[in-house]
């Protein structure tokens, strides 16, 4: 029996609830995974630029650190939104 006919039989056995749960699980995984990529890149850029600023101008390191911390926190909000979407899709 071919793989395609096996898949077809399996699909027929699934009811609507199973299919909905499966789609929700896939969507939740993508939501959390993709939502973590952007903030990861953003935080990398923020920290890299702030470190460059602190290394070049040590006298303004305090100000650069404040701005860096706020930038990290704002960027991280995107990851938190992705996490909340994951929770709502998967468990609610």
């Amino acid at each position: 029996m071919s793989l395609a006919s096996n898949a077809l039989m399996l699909a027929q056995q699934l009811d609507a609830t199973d299919a909905k749960n499966a789609n929700a699980a896939i969507g939740a995984g993508f939501a959390y995974g993709l939502a973590a990529i952007g903030p990861g890149i953003g935080i990398g850029i923020i920290v890299g630029q702030a470190i460059q600023a602190m290394a070049r101008q040590p006298e303004s390191a305090g100000q650069a650190q404040t701005t860096m911390f706020l930038g990290i926190a704002f960027t991280e909000a995107l990851a938190l939104i992705g996490f909340v979407v994951f929770i709502l899709l998967k468990f609610v």
């Binding site: 470190i51 305090g62 706020l70 990851a79």
Partner: protein
């Protein structure tokens, strides 16, 4: 990156940590609004909502304080350590939030919608609130809670 740039990556920041000051200030504001936020959660979602809002607010404040603490400690070692700490700190803090939520998600006193909404709204709300004070004074330490903006005419009269 030139040789001097790579050497300066080994420098460290020895002054007081402004990130920690900002995070502690945010935590104070969070503690200040906690009763009101929990009351709103109780009114909308009931007792489970109140408990979830309290947990969500706690997670947000711990997350911000931990972030600032990691940055402050790493900056005292070297700027290179700061870069590593920022990356692993991001992973660590997301992992902690995920672990806590997955641990309590099946409890009867938890409302996941209330928890999720609280995490997003309080995180962004507290940050915007704090930014208002920081942007009011760009000079280091750049943090003057309670400072009222002075009108230009008053400032000029004091100067003269």
């Amino acid at each position: 990156m030139t040789m001097s740039d790579s050497n300066s990556m080994l420098n460290s920041y020895d002054g007081p940590s402004p990130a920690l000051e900002v995070a502690v200030d945010i935590a104070k504001r969070g503690a200040l609004i906690a009763p009101a936020v929990i009351l709103v959660g109780a009114l909308i979602w009931g007792s489970a909502g109140a408990a979830s809002v309290a947990v969500g607010l706690g997670l947000v404040l711990v997350n911000l304080l931990l972030s600032a603490y990691i940055i402050a400690r790493a900056a005292r070692i070297s700027f290179a350590a700061l870069a590593g700490a920022a990356m692993f700190g991001f992973l660590l803090r997301l992992g902690i939030i995920t672990a806590v939520v997955l641990l309590i998600k099946d409890e009867t006193w938890v409302d996941l919608v209330a928890l999720g909404m609280t995490i997003i709204v309080t995180h962004l709300g507290l940050l915007f609130w704090e930014t208002r004070y920081i942007s009011g004074s760009l000079a280091y330490p750049g943090l003057k809670p309670g400072t009222k903006l002075i009108r230009r005419s008053d400032r000029e009269s004091v100067a003269s």
